[in-house]
Assembly symmetry: C2
Homo-oligomer: 221 residues x 2
């Protein structure tokens, strides 16, 4: 079976995707990203139809390398919402042995959040930490600023050390602030979107771009 067949994308689908990237490159006047960062940004544009991500997307200088390395060694992905796991190509993740975890729908997480007056997203991050998934894993936040804020607290207190944070929560309450706080840290590396925009489809696009880079890296020159 060819690589294309294992990707579960048909030739017709592949042609559409390549045509889309050609249009995006043509219509993008200029950008300030590295070649590898641009692979990721143009996939964000592709997944949203929104050229604002050329500019809004921000990278820690070590982020792309950290993401490729983490995927290549099969690090786990901790997602804040189920849509991220549903959108990711399981075939491509399995090639590196990467599993996606999310705890926001766990009955115990919901019960604790209700009892403590916090959000489910906060409790889900604590659960991921208890399971050791935040040490060396990729944290992927597409929805809940509170998930990002809680993880930043755990990192500050030395309780978590992810390999990479993809922090793209969306919204009007705390989202921009949580991403500004993320963009101030030196370690671990991060990828984020300034302002209110974000969402799980963007997180999925970012991880697919990192997977493509990891596949190229693995195939060698």
């Amino acid at each position: 079976m060819s690589a294309r067949a294992t990707d579960q994308i048909t030739e017709a689908g592949r042609t559409i995707e390549q045509g889309s990237f050609a249009i995006i490159d043509r219509e993008t006047g200029s950008h300030a990203y590295s070649d590898r960062e641009w692979q990721l940004v143009r996939r964000l544009i592709h997944s949203s139809g929104d050229f604002d991500f050329n500019g809004l997307t921000r990278f820690h200088p070590g982020a792309v390398g950290a993401g490729i390395g983490a995927l290549a060694r099969g690090a786990p992905i901790v997602a804040d919402v189920a849509m991220i796991g549903a959108g990711l190509s399981q075939v491509r993740l399995a090639r590196f042995g990467v599993a996606v975890h999310q705890f926001i729908a766990d009955p115990e997480v919901i019960a604790t959040a209700q009892a403590e007056g916090t959000t489910r997203a906060v409790q889900a991050m604590r659960e991921a930490k208890r399971k050791g998934l935040l040490d060396g894993g990729i944290l992927a936040v597409g929805n809940a600023p509170t998930a990002l804020i809680e993880t930043l607290r755990l990192i500050r207190e030395g309780q978590a050390k992810p390999a990479l944070i993809i922090g793209m929560p969306v919204g009007f309450v705390s989202a921009a602030e949580s991403k500004d706080a993320l963009a101030e840290i030196d370690d671990p590396p991060w990828i984020t979107i300034a302002g209110r925009k974000g969402g799980s489809t963007l997180v999925v696009a970012a991880i697919h771009a990192l997977l493509a880079l990891a596949e190229t890296h693995q195939a060698g020159p």
Copy 2:
């Protein structure tokens, strides 16, 4: 258990959501939608951080009523991608007996698409038609223009009669054209986004807005 608890949203989460809607209403200068349509549009803005959806979102005049009616009678939802089902509140759908179907990852759908040189999305729509789900169901497209184009063909040929089409495919090849074609039909009713923008998070937001209207409708005055 309260209605809020069955929604699986905590008080803290509810407070954030209400705060977000207040900000959106305050920052929206003006809009040209009906009250019920605005419930849906502001949820699109909420899920994306993008005020462009005030203007880009287009409604067939009968769309909101058709959506509420379809959900209230437990009509099936046919989605083009798995992210839509993963993002929807299963608890809220179950209250109306609504099930979400998607066929894009079916091995048979993939094999037929490969063999016929079409996309998986086209074959998935044909599979939904064979199962009778497109008659009286809600078609929800967040990703693939080809899914929308194929369904419009089936409707034209009298092979499918959905209750409502939520057509929000994203992208640079055929997406805008497929949505323009949708916006020209009289029957069935439709909700769409002009231009390239779209995505599965927007479709999820639209259906959650319709669910909220159906819940209010059910609860009565």
